[in-house]
């Protein structure tokens, strides 16, 4: 396979043809915040936390869906990109009725970016009791940030298609089957959705707080 040479924050790295800017940043050992990305799944480009500066581009570009070109220069700490990433994580936290657990990916990304009190507070998802109709898997819909990782895990990794994105705009969320819980859906309890969820909106019943 042919290789491309790119630089990330001044460090030169070789990446295979077809690699993304995120692949290159990770190959160079640089951190780029991500929320909707899971290396086992096709890039989705939804969260926009992974913006990076690219030499010659007028505006920051999403690292996960931007393919590397020979000689491309990537700046993972581009000030505008970081401002947007910070704002995105702040917005996401502002839609949750309670803070995500400290061990979740979202909480860790927020901590690393130093995200504090929301500048744009407002309506949150409605708090609800966890949906524990399934013996192993639980929904906490109010923690869903619509990153699509669970839906793609069920589609791309498990091939079961038991999950879907639901709603539109601010009211987007996820559901199993016809939204009657995991048990009444095609779910085979593989756990791939709970494994990838960055907020514990889907988690194991035994791990519920």
């Amino acid at each position: 396979m042919s290789e491309l040479t790119v630089t990330v924050d001044g460090t030169t790295v070789a990446v295979p043809a077809g690699a993304t800017a995120l692949d290159a940043a990770r190959a160079a050992g640089r951190w780029v915040p991500t929320l909707c990305f899971d290396a086992r799944q096709a890039p989705f480009g939804a969260c926009r936390a992974c913006l990076v500066g690219v030499e010659g581009a007028a505006n920051p570009l999403p690292a996960c869906t931007t393919r590397c070109r020979e000689g491309m220069a990537i700046d993972t700490e581009d000030p505008a990109a970081r401002r947007v990433a910070h704002a995105v994580v702040e917005l996401v936290l502002s839609e949750l009725p309670r803070a995500p657990a400290p061990d979740t990916e979202l909480a860790q990304v927020a901590q690393r970016l130093g995200v504090g009190a929301p500048r744009w507070p407002g309506e949150t998802h409605a708090p609800a009791d966890p949906d524990v109709r399934h013996p192993y898997l639980a929904f906490q819909h109010e923690l869903c940030i619509s990153c699509g990782r669970c839906v793609r895990a069920c589609d791309e990794l498990q091939g079961t298609f038991a999950l879907t994105a639901t709603g539109r705009g601010f009211h987007a969320n996820v559901a199993a089957g016809l939204d009657e819980g995991f048990r009444a859906s095609a779910c085979v309890a593989c756990g791939a959705c709970a494994d990838t969820c960055p907020t514990d909106a889907i988690t194991e019943v035994s791990l519920l707080p």
Binding site: A46, C47, V84, A87, V92, D155, E156, F161, T164
Partner: protein, 550 residues
């Protein structure tokens, strides 16, 4: 978009299965709502997994609004807002006792919001449907007539051309395709002519059509598609409505020529469900074209109706809607020219863009480029005006004329002695030009220099009585409602931006601008990326009206 679902849909489509969206639409038409039994039936007939069908059923406005025996859809588009300030919606709510999206307990009446019905020349507009009834009433008194059960079908807008030789308002006569076939012009030569003609996309982005066609032609694969984007969702615009309903043969000819140049044997038109007359008009024109031998074995078309979503006008969301899936935006690459409808190379062009092609085929690139003598932009453009103007309607104009000439001479200025406060050009993602800047030229670059855009060509005046804070609130409410929910900045950011203007509280200019930057730089598509443009105009020209704090 899930490649697995798209492949699943492709295989079922090849076996003539209906799309899940078609089955769900049918259920709403027949029973006024979607039930779980309808969803299971849609899954069975379309081959989509039940969960995916559930996702579709919770996405589109048409599937979410319950319908009574008499279903009243009130237009909350920007032209209707500019006409009444929203009073027509309040009047309906008060008189029916129903909220938007609510059906009376006895099932007699239901009220729903729609954006927009394309009767912007005669606002406010309402559509009433029931057994053997489907009428759009518009203009002064429309609400009272609808409430009295005495609605009257509104007149369609007038249209005319200011060009010595019309291109887009000339009835389609298949002369372009006739010439190509009779003179045995090769697909390569036609593509070359379209590229040389420099037809820029008329849907908003202005991308050169010839370049797009070239990508699709060069893409690997036997099966390719032409898709006409007839989801003219921009409130205030009724240009594609005019083309699809009153000049449908011109569009079909443009699609057939695109198919010939690109190597595609089939095309689809995605029309908005808000334009109920468009699909029948296009189907009748297609039937006539088949009878005359213009459509058929070489190239044929299918007309598909959407289900209520503004963002479906974005090309990847449009393809998802055609496949009967949730109309959400997908990151590019892959571009539709490589991997589009059913995963096949696809040209997605706006309706008006395709309507330019027959002239180029019949008369050549040089004649086309000469149509706008005062501009470097080739071809002509359709514009339309809202009912605040004295002579609203659809006009074919050259590029490069001044906005002042368009607004004051062509459309006659505002009626009832009103004066223009500002005009929003090219839809809700376009900037607002204040009256004192009307000398700007109507052209891509000149309008961009004013923080505006040509967009799709709708010209919508706000008169001197308009509160610009209300305009901000109106536009951001629309933006938040129509966000597809895919990317985080748009999904949450537009909601927050609307909340900042929702009440009467002061708006922190600093926080607003930080939010606008997040939307502009972070959004996945032009919806979230473009909604800040009119807000930037308001901040620039009418800051004192917005109730700003530091």
């Amino acid at each position: 978009m899930s490649r697995n679902l798209v492949e699943l849909v492709r295989r079922h489509h090849a076996l003539a299965a209906p799309s899940a969206l078609d089955v769900l639409k049918e259920a709403v038409e027949q029973r006024g709502e979607v039930t779980d039994e309808d969803r299971r039936e849609a899954a069975r007939r379309s081959g989509l997994p039940e969960a995916a069908v559930y996702g579709v059923s919770t996405f589109y406005d048409d599937l979410l609004q319950p319908r009574g025996a008499r279903h009243v859809r009130v237009c909350t588009g920007t032209a209707c807002f500019a006409a009444t300030g929203g009073a027509h919606v309040e009047e309906l709510r008060a008189a029916t006792g129903l909220e938007l999206g609510e059906r009376a307990a006895d099932g007699s009446t239901s009220l729903a919001e729609t954006v927009c019905l394309g009767f912007c020349h005669s606002a406010p507009a309402l559509r009433v449907t029931g057994s053997e009834l489907d009428v759009v009433d518009a203009g002064p008194g429309a609400v009272a007539r609808v409430l009295a059960d005495a609605c009257v079908a509104a007149a369609e807008p007038d249209w005319s051309s200011t060009l010595p030789e019309p291109v887009l308002t000339r009835p389609g006569d298949w002369s372009g395709l006739r010439r190509v076939l009779e003179e045995e012009i090769s697909p390569e030569a036609l593509l070359e002519a379209v590229t040389a003609a420099e037809i820029r996309g008329r849907g908003g982005a202005g991308f050169p059509a010839g370049v797009k066609w070239g990508f699709a032609r060069a893409a690997a694969g036997e099966q390719k598609f032409i898709v006409a984007n007839g989801d003219e969702g921009d409130p205030g615009s009724y240009i594609d409505k005019y083309l699809m309903e009153r000049n449908p043969a011109l569009l079909l000819e443009g699609m057939a020529l695109a198919g010939y140049a690109v190597g595609a044997a089939h095309g689809f038109v995605l029309v908005r469900s808000e334009y109920p007359r468009s699909k029948p008009a296009l189907e009748a024109a297609a039937e006539a074209a088949r009878a005359a031998g213009w459509l058929g074995e070489r190239f044929d078309v299918t007309i598909v109706e959407g289900a209520g979503s503004y963002v479906v006008g974005e090309e990847t969301a449009l393809l998802a809607c055609l496949e009967g899936l949730r109309g959400t935006v997908s990151a590019r690459p892959p571009f539709p020219a490589q991997e589009g409808l059913y995963g096949r190379p696809t040209v997605v062009n706006n309706v008006e863009t395709l309507c330019n092609v027959p002239f180029v085929a019949a008369r050549g690139a040089d004649a086309y480029r000469a149509l706008s003598p005062d501009s470097d932009t080739a071809g002509s453009k359709l514009v339309c005006f809202n009912e605040r103007f004295a002579r609203p309607g659809v006009y074919e104009v050259p590029f490069g004329v001044s906005m002042r000439w368009l607004c004051e001479q062509l459309a006659g200025g505002l009626r009832d002695g009103r004066s223009i406060k500002g005009v929003q050009i090219g839809g809700p993602l376009g900037g607002i030009l204040p009256a004192e800047r009307l000398d700007a030229a109507f052209d891509f670059d000149a309008l961009a220099a004013e923080g505006c855009m040509l967009g799709h060509g709708g010209i919508l005046a706000f008169d001197d009585a308009t509160s610009m804070r209300d305009v901000a609130r109106h536009l951001l409410r629309f933006g938040a409602h129509e966000s597809c929910g895919k990317c985080f900045p748009c999904r949450i950011g537009l909601r927050r931006a609307h909340a900042m203007f929702a009440g009467e509280q002061p708006v922190s200019r600093e926080r607003l601008e930080q939010l606008l930057e997040t939307l502009e730089l972070g959004s996945l598509c032009a919806h979230g990326g473009g909604m800040p443009a009119p807000i930037r105009s308001l901040l620039r020209w009418w800051p004192d009206e917005l109730g700003l704090s530091a």
